[in-house]
């Protein structure tokens, strides 16, 4: 039987690329059978808890551990003094700075790690931390980044005083971390000086936290008999952790095993290496037993990796038709007390230079200054690729301001400035080569779907009645898939990723990758890629990640890099297997390779019906009947160094109604069109987009980490920190176009972060739009009811 229907049936049975295969992971998750770090139990395991600083800036006069050590069940209390002989009281950060593991002489932010207590159980440890007596002398606190480089500012990092050569540039002040620029300053300034129209908008991208449901933690286990250290850890980059642990501990990398078990969400929070991990590892090495440390919610929000805190000014120069002539962006970046951003080494401001957006901008200049303040360190990519959220926010907000000034509709001004379909690949004036795009089609599809003109008419009527209705629009371009090793590395390791695929004699498959799933559904989607490449049903393909003893070295999962890099490695490794399979098939069928053609799951001899070998036949033969001179077996490894980034894009539209008396906002409609190139699993894409939009909604409408003047964090519990549930979350409408990446083996671009990156400025755009007729050009996030109400009050719109 060799009909079209048969071929289709075989194709369908693969559950390959393009089908909405059900997630392999869900069976265990929905039954509560996941295996998270805190589920790990080991014989003799002890528990750690952290003594933390109540002050944002203070000198440590003394630490008295006697009472804590006297509590029955307490095994050890580690302080900086204990780590000093091992030279582990400070550790290097991914950003070229150092960070205190346990506070050494000074605390630099509230909740900073001061001492680690190790006890028989979690409860004794918690009691014991209350018994550690720390005497502090309070110091002046620096909270406002705008005051960091003034003459009066207290100097935070005494360890860096006088060291004016920073990791990325010369430092201008003891509280200065780096200056980073892209583009041409003079040429940009000249265009601005001569421009017909210019606009300038200040905006604060406030400090937020990824707040994954599972907090960070680890179980460190030093086996003194065989000299092997095993650490179960909530890490988005287990291989990088292994390298760092090896470098810090002096253990050979082969004696360090890092395992990332199931992870309850990462969103950038689990990329870095935290003091708790290092202190727990030291405790296990010292005590010779496993030590578990898991953060509570307050510790997670307060200390492990915040995101954003970018104080930005966006400026555009244009002609009177709204055609952009130049872009200027200035950023003051608050990095907290230590620079522990997780960016590729050469990019201290991440990929902020994607701030030219989807637009054909002739010249631009970007200037970023990073400063220290008495706040927790971090600056991670919260569901985005290295500062892309900030970049998209500044360009999209400034585009709206320009449209408003010129009286041009915000859809029209985007249309006029888009990079056109035929211009791809397009090199931006700040140096990215956008791989592919079709921005006009995406925008028009959204405008048609929502009846944009109708919405504007409705808005006119509502305004006439004194009602507040806003329409937000964003057309974003993201840069993901870091990245080409010629420009991207972490601690000197190129940002490739890897896949190792083994086809068993019976034709089932075991594949391992250097990435690690945290909810993305890798066990489902990687199998689909292999299924389509090799003609083996995805149900017989097992995917394993996260154990550095078994999986090939990879840089991990963040910045939407799994599909662009790991997915590419998977496809290329599968193709290596397919190439060998073809040779075996030719041998079995006694024809030349050139006489063979591939069809779904088999090689066929061209023009000879019935002469064919399925991949299952070939797999069996690979272990008993290979051509002379060929080694048996059927497996391949690929380390994929991407030639370029990928550039997913989208057009988002949001309609809001604002209650004039209370400031309460109703998100009436949110329409999200994404183009992530080839779509591997549409159901998972929809899920990712729903999740990303919801986190975008959280950031734009409620999440914030407010500090008072003394450096106290006032929003570190879920009483204050906004984590939307189904109750608050609006309804999402999703749509798509498909513009494959020309350089990716299967044309896929990555999608998980686009909805977060794209939605946040869309909410602000809608909120501002509701007040645009009253000459409001910008409102800083979060747009919670109180802040919106204050805006309403300031405009004198309240009835009484």
């Amino acid at each position: 039987m060799d009909t079209v229907a048969d071929k289709q049936k075989r194709e369908d049975s693969l559950n390959g690329v393009g089908c909405s295969r059900k997630r392999k992971e869900d069976a265990r998750f929905i039954q509560g059978k996941g295996n998270y770090t805190d589920d790990i139990k080991m014989p003799g395991m002890l528990f750690a808890d952290m003594v933390r600083s109540p002050y944002a800036h203070a000198r440590i006069i003394s630490i008295n551990t006697e009472k804590a050590l006297a509590l029955p069940g307490v095994h050890a209390v580690l302080t900086a003094a204990d780590l000093k002989p091992l030279n582990l009281h400070w550790m290097p950060t991914l950003a070229g700075d150092v960070q205190a593991v346990l506070a050494d002489e000074k605390v630099h932010f509230q909740y900073q790690e001061v001492a680690l207590v190790v006890a028989d159980d979690r409860y004794i440890a918690a009691d014991a931390i209350d018994l550690v007596e720390v005497e502090y002398e309070e110091l002046p606190v620096l909270v406002d980044p705008h005051k960091a480089m003034t003459a009066e500012a207290p100097i935070l990092r005494e360890d860096l005083v006088g060291k004016m050569e920073g990791a990325h540039s010369t430092r201008k002040h003891d509280n200065h971390i780096f200056n980073w620029q892209a583009g041409e300053k003079d040429a940009t300034d000249r265009v601005f000086d001569a421009a017909e129209v210019t606009v300038s908008q200040d905006m604060v991208y406030h400090r937020v936290h990824p707040c994954p449901l599972e907090t960070c933690g680890c179980v460190a286990s030093m086996d003194k008999i065989n000299g092997k250290l095993t650490v179960y850890l909530t890490s988005q980059a287990p291989h990088v952790v292994r390298t760092v642990v090896s470098m810090l501990s002096g253990l050979p990398e082969s004696s360090v095993r890092i395992v990332s078990p199931d992870i309850g969400g990462g969103f950038g929070n689990k990329v870095g290496i935290y003091p708790g991990y290092v202190a727990s590892i030291v405790a296990s090495i010292v005590l010779g037993v496993p030590v578990k440390w898991v953060e509570d919610r307050m510790e997670n929000i307060s200390t492990t990796a915040f995101a954003r805190d970018y104080h930005m000014r966006g400026e555009l120069a244009a002609d009177s038709n709204g055609i952009i002539k130049a872009l200027r962006v200035n950023v003051l970046a608050d990095h907290g007390a230590f620079d522990s951003c997780a960016d590729p080494s050469k990019f201290p401001a991440g990929f902020m230079h994607i701030c030219t957006g989807s637009y054909d901008i002739p010249v631009a200049h970007l200037n970023v200054d990073g400063v220290y303040t008495n706040k927790a360190p971090g600056g991670v990519s919260y569901r985005c690729s290295f500062r892309v959220t900030e970049a998209v926010y500044v360009i999209e907000r400034t585009m709206d301001v320009l449209a408003q000034k010129l009286g041009i509709d915000k859809a029209e001004i985007r249309r006029r400035n888009f990079v056109k379909k035929e211009q791809f690949p397009y090199t931006t004036c700040l140096g990215f080569e956008l791989d592919s795009g079709d921005y006009h089609t995406a925008l028009e599809k959204v405008l048609d779907a929502v009846d944009y003109k109708g919405l504007r008419r409705e808005q006119e009527e509502k305004r006439a009645n004194g009602e507040l209705m806003g329409i937000g629009l964003v057309t974003f371009t993201e840069v993901v898939g870091a990245g080409p090793s010629k420009s991207c590395d972490i601690l000197g390791v190129g940002m490739f990723d890897s896949a190792e695929i083994r086809v068993h004699p019976t034709g089932s498959v075991m594949a391992r990758m250097g990435t690690i799933t945290q909810g993305q559904g890798h066990q489902t989607t990687y199998a689909q890629i292999i299924a389509s490449e090799l003609g083996i049903t995805s149900d017989e393909i097992a995917i394993e990640e996260g154990d550095t003893d078994t999986s090939p070295y990879g840089l991990g999962t963040y910045g939407s890099r799994s599909t662009p890099v790991g997915g590419a490695a998977t496809a290329v490794a599968a193709r290596k297997i397919k190439a060998k399979a073809k040779k075996i098939a030719a041998h079995l069928l006694e024809v030349s390779e050139d006489d063979l053609e591939w069809e779904v799951d088999r090689f066929k001899v061209k023009g000879v019906p019935g002469q064919e070998k399925t991949m299952k036949d070939i797999a069996w033969a690979a272990y008993n009947n290979v051509p002379e001179g060929m080694e048996p077996g059927l497996e391949a490894v690929d380390y994929y160094d991407p030639p370029n980034f990928t550039f997913p894009f989208g057009a988002y539209l949001c309609v809001v109604d604002i209650d004039k008396d209370t400031g309460v906002t109703d998100i009436r409609r949110f329409y999200a069109l994404d183009d992530c190139g080839t779509r591997i699993n549409p159901m998972i894409i929809d899920g990712q987009i729903h999740g990303g939009l919801t986190e975008g909604y959280a950031v734009a409408m409620g999440q914030e980490m407010p500090y008072d003047e003394e450096g106290n964090l006032l929003g570190n519990t879920l009483m204050d920190y906004f984590l939307p549930t189904f109750v608050e979350t609006p309804k999402w409408e999703t749509d798509y176009t498909v513009t494959p990446s020309p350089h990716h083996p299967i044309g896929a671009k990555g999608v998980a972060e686009s909805p977060h990156v794209g939605s946040i400025p869309t909410f602000t755009s809608a909120m501002v739009d509701a007040f645009a007729h009253l000459d409001v050009t910008h409102m800083d996030m979060p747009h919670n009811a109180y802040r919106v109400w204050k805006q309403i009050k300031a405009l004198g719109l309240l009835d009484n």
């Binding site: 550690v132 106290n712 006032l714 570190n716 519990t717």
Partner: protein, 194 residues
């Protein structure tokens, strides 16, 4: 986290009586439920402690009290209290100026201006209630102070005041205190001050 408070308490005694009592640091400290002076270090420096139970949380602060100035002419006391809770997770500072003014009816008022700064977990967790909590603590202080001034006199009123002082709880009463905080907060919703 900083809160500025201005308070005025009518006192049932004369200005002279009130001023006499205001200079008795141990007596003044005892007006704060749960507070006591544990050590006199001389030169206007004292060690003291405050224990408060609010809802499920017990907080015990150990700290120093420093008398910055006693101005007999203005009848004004300036003191600074600094404390750290015994768990090391929070700290509080109060800078207080209190003075006595005579009133036309021959009695007096106690005026107080205080800046309270709270750091650590107490600020993170209790920040939103801090104004109310500090306000209520001062209200209890004010009542107790008034009783003490009244007790310096003679007659039935002074007798009653002495009884009240004797009945005063040794530490801040959690439930009643939480209730008064709530009432204070609820009241502030309808006040036009903000």
């Amino acid at each position: 986290m900083k809160v500025d408070l201005n308070k005025e308490f009518s006192l049932p005694g004369t200005g002279v009586q009130a001023w006499t009592f205001l200079q008795d640091i141990r007596g003044v400290a005892s007006c704060m439920p749960g507070a006591e002076i544990t050590e006199d270090l001389g030169d206007g420096n004292y060690k003291g402690k405050v224990k408060a139970k609010i809802g499920p949380a017990t907080m015990a602060f150990n700290g120093d009290i420093i008398i910055q100035n006693i101005d007999a002419e203005k009848r004004e006391l300036h003191m600074i209290g600094k404390g750290q809770d015994t768990k090391g997770s929070s700290s509080a500072t109060m800078d207080l100026r209190a003075w006595v003014e005579d009133t036309e009816d021959g009695k007096s008022v106690l005026q107080g201006v205080a800046t309270v700064t709270v750091n650590g977990k107490a600020a993170s967790l209790g920040g939103r209630m801090m104004t109310q909590v500090a306000d209520q603590m001062l209200n209890q202080f004010g009542k107790s102070f008034a009783n003490n001034v009244a007790s310096m006199g003679e007659g039935e009123e002074a007798e009653m005041a002495r009884d009240k002082i004797a009945e005063q709880p040794a530490e801040l009463n959690g439930l009643a205190f939480a209730w008064s905080v709530f009432v204070g907060w609820f009241g502030s919703l309808f006040s036009s001050k903000k």
